[in-house]
């Protein structure tokens, strides 16, 4: 394996890790506030469709992104209302959102575009274009570092840079601001926050809204940057892998970066080596495609150690009598 191949795989890792990272951070904000969210998948899917649809119609990726975020926020609002205001079961609400998104996107796509549940392919300004960082071309001849900068660091789309920048931002917000303190508190002990005179409901809605925005960006990235348009079920379980990464990361931002890069790397490997010939035995492509998911299970079952979720997670807050 030569240096160029390694760079390509890593480059692909970064691109594939981006939606996972955004969704993982989205889940992190929600679950740290005590709202479990298995509806990351559905929110991303809704956003993927609406961003692609609006971008296709208007030709503007920015309007697409806005529509995607809005769609995801609507889903988040449903989950928030069900689990915060109506104190429903958060898992059931999340499952409902996944079903809702999976069905609605295809039906609406068929009605609007009549292309078998797809949106038209996006071209030009309807997609996020790669950004060439300053001096990338100039520095390319520099050995080792030149190609790394040119191939790996430069040349990604805006959401990729945004996702990576959100890691330190999330860390800072969670651990250095009043909002972060309250958000973490409401996930651990809502009654402590309530007796301190801070609204549990408002804090949790804020967290769920952040989750909606981040899932929206993740979905828009899938449809308008990683690929050129929406296809049925295009999230392909990324929401669930992001949840797995979240547990693997023990609900912490920097660890979330590491975990999603690992899962992104597994996907990149599967994408690159579709058929591996092991001296006569050919490993079929399906095995390679399944590998990230299999490893997800293995990692979660065996390597996480003791992951302690936020203590009030999944529990609606009811004032005791």
């Amino acid at each position: 394996m030569d240096f160029a191949t390694v760079l390509q795989i890593l480059d692909s890792t970064v691109r594939l890790a981006t939606p996972l990272l955004l969704a993982c951070l989205a889940g992190l904000f929600s679950e740290r506030a005590g709202i479990f969210d298995i509806g990351l998948e559905g929110k991303m899917l809704a956003s993927a469709f609406f961003s692609a649809a609006v971008a296709a119609v208007t030709g503007s990726v920015w309007l697409g992104l806005g529509a995607g975020i809005a769609a995801s926020l609507v889903m988040a609002a449903i989950h928030g209302a069900a689990s915060i205001s109506f104190r429903g079961n958060q898992l059931i609400s999340g499952v409902a959102i996944n079903f809702l998104a999976a069905g609605l996107t295809v039906v609406i796509a068929q009605t609007w575009f009549s292309q078998g549940g797809r949106t038209p392919s996006l071209i030009g300004a309807a997609r996020f274009e790669p950004i060439t960082l300053p001096l990338a071309e100039t520095l390319q001849p520099v050995p080792i570092l030149g190609p790394i900068y040119h191939e790996l660091i430069s040349g990604h789309t805006l959401p990729v840079y945004l996702a990576f920048a959100l890691v330190p931002v999330s860390w800072w917000v969670l651990y250095h601001t009043r909002f972060g303190l309250r958000l973490r508190a409401v996930g651990e002990s809502p009654e402590a926050l309530d007796t301190a005179g801070v609204s549990v409901v408002a804090t949790r809605y804020a967290a769920v809204a952040i989750c909606g925005v981040l899932c929206g960006i993740a979905g828009a990235y899938l449809a308008t940057a990683l690929q050129a348009g929406f296809v049925k079920d295009m999230t392909a379980g990324r929401g669930f892998i992001a949840l797995a990464a979240l547990i693997f990361a023990k609900w912490r931002p920097w660890q979330a970066l590491g975990a999603t890069l690992l899962f992104g790397f597994l996907q990149a490997i599967a994408l690159r080596y579709q058929n591996i010939d092991l001296g006569g035995v050919v490993v079929p492509v399906q095995v390679m495609d399944a590998l990230p998911y299999v490893l997800t299970v293995v990692i979660l079952a065996g390597f996480v150690g003791r992951a302690i979720p936020p203590r009030a997670g999944g529990e609606p807050y009811v004032k005791e009598r």
């Binding site: 009654e191 402590a192 309530d194």
Partner: protein, 516 residues
């Protein structure tokens, strides 16, 4: 009005005609209360008397249906906790409202941060805690995580939280329930100290001894009403108990001296390791004879639960346990059944989790663990529900369970009546050995008296009883011998007449106590 009184001080708290209903339940009925600044005011009452509801109204957790609240002479709606905090009211709840993985500092500033960023708030709180620690003997490591602190320390953090919020009025709800006697003494010193600095303190407790020891005035609540407010110096525990229950109550059990017979339970070198690999029982040996009560005293979490668990069959351990000379297989698969077959009856510590199925009806609960009993069976396949119902009704009458209706779910009974159901189930088996955990936790004074009488009666009938309780009063009044547990070991054994709270308290804190 207060101004017109001229020279007379304005009350710190004045409640007038407070009423609050939850659906059909009238939790507070036309309550009036006046507390003067710089005093310690006690509020006593049985469970469900409405003490906590009243304090929650004062802290803005609930809104009163009717009535007026005045803080420092000013009418104040107290619409939420934030308003209560602004009015200078701080509350130390019975179940601490702390964020476990947070540091002490983070807990202290939560909700009263100085700005959007934490750093300046944390720095200011650090300085403030240092001053408070010096002023009030409230020393806590500001950087410690709450989950690493003991209950006494957690309580200090709660008090610090209130003081950091500039509370002038401090409400403490059952503050000593989880403390060792030494910790409780320290708490009372802190409270005296706060009082001398002009703070007003409201102490909610069911321990009349504490009321007598520390309060200046005391109010008694019964069934949602304020039945009396008295000067503590002018009253007695007997009078307060009578006011609480509405009839005469025996505060001390009259019991005959024990007549211990053969050894029923013999435990040697019992060890239990929990799921985290921590050894919770470190070689416990003890014995209980027929016709005597062995009381196990200790602060919660020193291995008493594990002792009950192994003897009751819910935990596995190593060592030997003999019942009337026959060794019990500690690794048996049907541990619960084999224990019962050997003559052990178990009244678990947590009746709601281990003793009852809360959604099941009283008669269904009455046969748990004994459903293979021929009396419960019509034939090999069917249970005889009618017979079980009749038996339950009869037992409920004998154990004064109210209401005596076998068809009500367990959850609809009060704590004391739930406990009576469990006791009826276990005692009616005439066990050779009864193991009881916290028999009167969360139980009304009237029911406590009844439960204690039943236990004594069972002892007099020749059963051996192992009693685990964190209530020293209960241990002292019921036990014929007292063993103190600390850190998974028996620290020592005493006879109740040759010991006192101080001596037991030392052993509960891991010291050997006075020479026996």
């Amino acid at each position: 009005m207060a101004g017109a009184a001229g020279g007379q001080r304005v009350p710190a708290i004045e409640l007038r005609g407070i009423s609050k209903a939850f659906g059909p339940v009238q939790a507070n009925r036309d309550i009036s209360l006046t507390v003067m600044p710089g005093t310690i005011h006690g509020i006593v009452g049985e469970n469900g008397a409405g003490k906590s509801t009243l304090m929650s109204i004062l802290y803005g957790f609930y809104k009163a249906d009717a009535g007026e609240i005045r803080i420092g002479g000013q009418p104040n709606q107290i619409s939420d906790s934030q308003a209560a905090i602004r009015a200078g009211i701080g509350m130390v709840f019975q179940h601490f409202k702390l964020v476990e993985p947070f540091s002490v500092l983070e807990n202290v500033i939560l909700g009263v941060e100085d700005g959007r960023l934490l750093r300046p708030s944390l720095a200011r709180a650090r300085g403030a805690l240092k001053r408070l620690a010096e002023d009030y003997e409230l020393h806590v490591d500001p950087d410690a995580r709450i989950e690493d602190l003991g209950v006494g320390m957690k309580q200090r953090v709660e008090i610090l939280k209130a003081l950091y919020r500039q509370a002038d009025i401090l409400i403490l709800d059952e503050p000593t329930g989880v403390l060792t006697p030494a910790e409780a003494d320290h708490l009372f010193r802190i409270l005296e100290n706060l009082k001398s600095q002009g703070k007003t303190i409201i102490l909610i407790t069911h321990k009349l001894r504490e009321i007598m020891a520390i309060t200046d005035t005391v109010s008694v609540m019964r069934r949602g009403q304020m039945v009396a407010t008295l000067e503590t110096a002018q009253t007695s525990p007997g009078e307060l108990a009578e006011l609480m229950v509405g009839r005469k109550v025996l505060l001390h059990m009259d019991k005959k001296p024990a007549a211990p017979g053969r050894t029923v339970l013999a435990v040697e070198n019992l060890r239990v390791t929990d799921i985290d690999g921590v050894e919770r029982l470190r070689g416990v040996s003890l014995s209980v004879r027929a016709g005597e009560i062995l009381g196990i005293a200790g602060v919660a979490g020193n291995g008493q639960s594990q002792l009950l668990g192994v003897l009751g069959g819910t935990l596995r351990g190593s060592g030997t346990v003999r019942i009337e000379g026959r060794e019990i297989d500690l690794a048996a698969r049907d541990a619960g059944q084999s224990r019962r077959a050997a003559g052990i009856a178990h009244v678990p510590e947590d009746r709601q989790r281990e003793g009852l199925v809360m959604e099941f009806l009283a008669w269904e609960n009455m046969i748990f663990g004994y459903h293979h009993d021929p009396a419960c069976q019509r034939n090999r396949a069917l249970m005889d529900n009618a017979a079980i119902r009749a038996m339950t009704a009869e037992r409920m009458a004998r154990f004064d369970v109210r209401p005596p209706d076998p068809d009500l779910p367990a959850r609809s009974f009060s704590g004391g009546n739930q406990q009576k159901i469990v006791l009826a189930r276990e005692i009616e088996r005439n066990p050779a050995l009864l193991i009881v955990g916290q028999p009167t936790r969360g139980v009304d004074i009237g029911a406590i008296e009844f439960i204690h009488q039943r236990l004594i009666a069972l002892r007099d009938a020749g059963a051996a009883i192992l009693l685990v309780s964190v209530e020293l009063d209960e241990i002292l009044s019921l036990s014929d011998r007292i063993a103190v547990m600390f850190d998974g070991r028996i620290m020592g054994e005493r006879r109740p007449e040759e010991t006192d709270e101080k001596d037991l308290g030392l052993m509960m804190a891991g010291m050997r106590g006075k020479a026996a």
